[in-house]
């Protein structure tokens, strides 16, 4: 029996048939604004809030203050409390990029992993992480090593990935083959805003529902609608909520 880690994101765990495989690394791809960072925040927050699992949040995109505001703005009110209690540890932009010495930050991270007991990790984003390597071969080698190191430290990881196209078949990067799972977040503009969708394209060792499901980002974070009847895919009808 494969052990699973629940995301606690409504609808998503059902689509995943219970959750994400423990000690795996899942890539969350999408274009800017698709909700990748929100999914990362929610995964870490729920870990502490619902499952008593400590988490590490690594971000090249934001500083700790922005992250806190982002979390609180979607209703994760205890974010700061959990950070202060040490249940959530944030390595923010300033920490990771201090004095251009990413190597030192990486050592700090490895020390933290060796000393403390975390179960969840988010890397926002893989796109930035890969900039520290010189060519495709190096990126590939070191992403695999990094994934190994995370698994060995007992972590179940989400990595976000910038994706240009709405439908990704035009530019599937190598990283999609290297990770254990792939979730795509899609958005299409409508008259009244955007329609959002989540697509779990691949999960190693797992029988998942690979249909594309509608989702919403609201107070409380992301909700994925497992039953399409709850929500119109076409966007022509009113949402039932």
């Amino acid at each position: 029996m494969v052990e699973l880690v629940r995301t606690g994101i409504e609808g998503l765990d059902e689509i995943l048939n219970g959750g994400i495989v423990k000690h795996s690394t899942t890539l969350v791809s999408g274009n800017p604004g698709a909700g990748k960072s929100v999914m990362g925040l929610q995964y870490i927050y729920n870990g502490v809030d619902l499952f008593d699992q400590r988490g590490l949040y690594l971000t090249f995109e934001e500083n700790a203050q922005d992250l806190r505001q982002a979390a609180e703005s979607i209703g994760f009110e205890n974010w700061e409390e959990y950070v202060e209690a040490g249940d959530i540890t944030v390595f923010d932009k300033q920490t990771l990029l201090r004095e251009h010495e990413f190597d030192a930050s990486l050592e700090l991270l490895l020390e933290e992993l060796a000393e403390e007991d975390y179960e969840r990790l988010v890397l926002d984003s893989l796109t930035m992480f890969q900039l520290f390597f010189e060519d495709e071969q190096e990126k590939r080698t070191y992403l695999l090593k990094f994934i190994d190191i995370l698994a060995d430290n007992g972590l179940t990881t989400l990595m976000t990935n910038e994706q240009g196209a709405v439908f990704p078949e035009t530019d599937i990067g190598l990283e999609n083959f290297l990770t254990d799972g792939n979730i795509y977040l899609l958005q299409t503009p409508t008259d009244s805003g955007v329609n959002r969708y989540a697509w779990v394209a691949k999960m190693r060792k797992q029988d998942v529902d690979t249909d594309i499901f509608p989702m919403e980002i609201d107070e409380g974070g992301i909700t994925v609608f497992k039953n399409a009847s709850e929500f119109s895919m076409m966007g022509g009808e009113e949402s039932p909520l």
Binding site: D103, L106, L110, F132, F133, E138, Y142, K145, I149, D152
Partner: protein, 111 residues
């Protein structure tokens, strides 16, 4: 492939010491004090080592009295000299992030 010029540069007094000391970025002043090298010599060695791509300008940091100070870091991890045929050197460049990950990964495969 680098050759005799690199070897000559390395052979100059204090060159090897400067490379050993610049694991972390340091200024000419710091190197001069740490290694007890006259400051003018220190600058000359830094120029020579840079010319051979053995040392690199890492950053210009702001000093306490708000001046820009150049700090240097070695760009190589090791140099191997081959004497077969014309002398030639094989330079192993430094890539810190990959080194750190390699090391962490190695320890994990040992356990």
């Amino acid at each position: 492939m680098a050759g005799v010029d690199t070897i000559r540069t390395l052979g100059n007094k204090y060159s090897a010491e400067i490379l050993s000391a610049t694991d972390e970025a340091k200024s000419a002043q710091e190197l001069s004090e740490e290694l007890d090298v006259p400051i003018a010599t220190c600058y000359r060695r830094i120029d020579e080592l840079q010319e051979q791509d053995l040392l690199e300008l890492h950053d210009s940091v702001l000093s306490d009295d708000r001046r820009r100070i150049k700090v240097y870091r070695r760009s190589v991890e090791s140099v191997r000299v081959e004497f077969d045929g014309t002398p030639s050197v094989d330079i192993e460049e430094r890539s810190e992030v990959t080194n750190t990950l390699d090391e962490a990964w190695r320890t994990l495969s040992e356990t």
